[in-house]
Symmetry: C2
Subunit: 138 residues, 2 copies
């Protein structure tokens, strides 16, 4: 998370990945955010390349048209962010892209989805309980 208005995200995409070439060539992407129920598919998606296969077909995922970018949304994900690349100054040195979120979708059928956080080598930590602390921000 970089900023709120406009909503900006910084992300690292390895130069070795097919996604890197696609992002460089088109300047667009969809960030699709899976809940824990999709964890097994997430592992398979992460361990294969779009160079070699159609991941939607191979792993039973459903593409849906986006509204502001060419790549599709992933219907099974609880959130989908349509993004364009907005800053490439740190791409060469760090593979770091700054993206602007043009449109965001959430699936109203997935209430309180639990996300998964990769610790590396296939180990993920799943969201647990939610706590509320006093905050000065309203």
């Amino acid at each position: 998370m970089v900023d709120f208005e406009p909503p900006l995200i910084a992300c690292i995409v390895s130069e070795a990945d097919y996604s890197f070439a696609a992002l460089r060539a088109t300047g667009e992407c969809v960030i699709a955010i899976p809940a824990v129920e999709l964890a097994e598919k997430v592992g398979k998606v992460g361990n294969s390349s779009g160079r070699d296969l159609d991941k939607f077909a191979a792993f039973g995922l459903t593409p849906m048209p986006a509204t502001r970018v060419a790549p599709p949304l992933v219907a099974e994900c609880f959130a989908n962010l349509e993004c364009k690349v907005t800053d490439t100054r740190l791409v060469k040195k760090y593979d770091l892209f700054v993206l602007e979120v043009l449109t965001a979708w959430t699936d109203p059928k997935q209430k309180q989805p639990k996300t998964i956080h990769h610790h590396g080598y296939g180990t993920f930590v799943v969201d647990g309980e939610t706590i509320k602390l006093k905050s000065k921000m309203r």
Copy 2:
């Protein structure tokens, strides 16, 4: 997380924060990572400014000397990362600093610490269960 060798982190520090001025002036910081047991203190630390008070004294935290940077570690945190600013190209536009981790400390007494992830406005999600998926990375 930006890279492994050398270990690099990108982080946003609001220009309005005292930390921003300190990071700009010294080019150094410690990233201290609290477990959920410290959540209440995390809220207080986040809702006050080092301009106005000594947060260590005010919130009962213990400074410990770092080895490669001037600012102190936070003894109660399960991990402390001694960092130097290594790239400032995105500071002006996004408040985004790239940091190199020079030395990392963990507290061996805190086994499997649960981290907390801020969803905004004082709401945090605590780490839940850990799952293991097949991975091609070894």
